[in-house]
């Protein structure tokens, strides 16, 4: 069974929490200036990806190594969606690329490069 290392999980959770905090601050500032757009976008653009990332972080171990790596890639993509609102739509549309990267990483990258990375992120 494969799962993300606790340190990686913590780093991802911190990145997501930071993203949510930044977006929250942006929303409050904009609202104070009379612009409700950030407020209206907040549930879908921030809360939703944060919840999805949280669910992926909380899921049990996977049977395959690729499964765990795909999960990691998706969480990073969700964190980027929260942190980079101008390109969030492009990131969402490009989600399948995450799976391609993982597949290429697992099947094409030399073992000498691949294994240290895997050991660093998976337990």
């Amino acid at each position: 069974m494969f799962r993300l290392r606790k340190s990686i999980k913590l780093a991802l959770a911190l990145a997501i929490a930071s993203g949510v905090a930044v977006r929250l601050a942006t929303m409050v500032t904009a609202l104070a200036e009379g612009d409700p757009d950030h407020l209206l976008a907040f549930p879908l653009a921030v809360i939703f990806p944060a919840i999805l990332a949280g669910l992926l972080l909380a899921m049990p171990a996977t049977r395959s190594r690729e499964g765990a790596l795909m999960r990691l890639g998706t969480i990073i993509q969700l964190a980027l969606i929260i942190l980079l609102p101008p390109v969030a739509l492009y990131l969402a549309l490009g989600l399948p690329v995450v799976f391609l990267v993982v597949e290429l990483f697992e099947t094409r990258l030399p073992r000498a490069l691949r294994e240290p990375v895997v050991r660093a992120v998976l337990a």
């Binding site: 209206l40 549930p43 799976f99 597949e103």
Partner: protein, 335 residues
């Protein structure tokens, strides 16, 4: 009908509630059913079907002037994405999880008559009702919500396989060839202005598109008839399907999707929509091969490698691959 005039702050809160309410509900209800995978998969299918069909029916409603949404935040072709996704969650997995035994029609009728009938025309500027809005609401429920709840229930119970597969194919069709191109054009520019294209292009493109669809639909039919399952790996087939269109190539559905995106892109003159075909390849390389290794290879350790060694992924064989010729026996003693 109740005629109320809500302040803006209330409408903002309502918009939050229309998304976060269903999301919270599905999380809580999903956790309750976490040890029932078929129930969860049914909920997911209901969401995906509703997601596609709500968009399609709302586009029809907006085009017909039955209603339109105000504001310009998170809009996809005039439809607020948060309300759209919230609706797909509420009128799919949430109702299916909450009321697993009540007939879907009895579930949605009070909502149509009660909720929509009373307050729909009072939500200006969130949504502005036009003439015939009630007929539009009924259409959305008949085409999007009612089948979504049925799909969740049938999947959970493992019944009505043919209907399930048909709804999944319909939902996928609208999702892949209407919702996705619309979102791509939102990001990259372009519109569904088919009227501006030359008539010959449309008249040539439509039969070609139909042919592409037939490849995909034939694959779905094979999964149902020969595999006794759906094309979605979460609701898989019981047998390895190697006949019909699968005797020519491994990924007929992905080929069908890729070709359809190219044809649609050419028909509407949008290179970005045509480029979605690349995404089909990315999907196969990244996800489908992984599924083949970790699911099909495990479940069919003998049949799958032989099939895969003889049948190509993308470019069809000229002749079908038949592992074992059928033997027809005529026994006059037992006629």
């Amino acid at each position: 009908m109740i005629d109320i005039d809500l302040p803006h702050e209330w409408l903002w809160a309502l918009r939050w509630a229309l998304f976060l309410g269903p999301l919270a509900a599905v999380l809580v209800l999903g956790a309750r059913h976490r040890h029932e995978p078929r129930v969860i998969v049914g909920g997911l299918f209901a969401f995906l079907y509703g997601f596609a069909m709500i968009f399609a029916t709302h586009q029809l409603a907006i085009a017909a002037g039955w209603w339109r949404y105000g504001g310009d935040v998170l809009m996809v072709m005039g439809l607020p994405a948060d309300i759209w996704i919230g609706g797909a969650i509420l009128f799919g997995p949430v109702l299916a999880f909450l009321f697993p035994t009540i007939r879907p029609l009895y579930l949605v009728l009070p909502i149509i008559l009660g909720l929509h009938g009373m307050v729909f025309s009072s939500l200006d500027p969130l949504v502005m009702a036009g003439p015939f809005w009630f007929a539009g609401v009924v259409l959305v429920f008949l085409v999007a919500h009612l089948p979504a709840i049925h799909l969740a229930r049938w999947t959970a119970r493992g019944e009505h396989l043919a209907w399930r597969a048909a709804l999944l194919a319909l939902g996928y069709g609208f999702l892949a060839f209407y919702v996705l191109p619309s979102v791509i054009m939102l990001a990259m520019g372009g519109s569904w202005n088919i009227g501006a294209q030359p008539a010959w292009l449309i008249l040539t493109g439509l039969p070609v598109l139909g042919t592409c669809f037939v490849i995909g639909l034939s694959a779905v039919q094979m999964f149902v008839v020969h595999g006794e399952g759906t094309p979605i790996p979460l609701d898989p087939t019981k047998r390895l399907v190697r006949s019909g269109v699968f005797a020519y190539l491994v990924n007929p559905m992905q080929l069908s999707s890729a070709l359809s995106w190219i044809v649609i892109g050419v028909m509407i003159g949008n290179i970005w929509v045509a480029s979605a075909a690349v995404m089909a390849w990315v999907f196969v390389a990244g996800m489908v091969r992984w599924h083949h290794r970790h699911d099909l290879l495990q479940r069919f350790p003998e049949g799958w490698p032989t099939y895969r060694a003889n049948v190509p992924e993308w470019f069809p064989r000229w002749k079908p691959w038949v592992p074992q010729a059928a033997r027809l026996v005529f026994d006059p003693e037992h006629t």
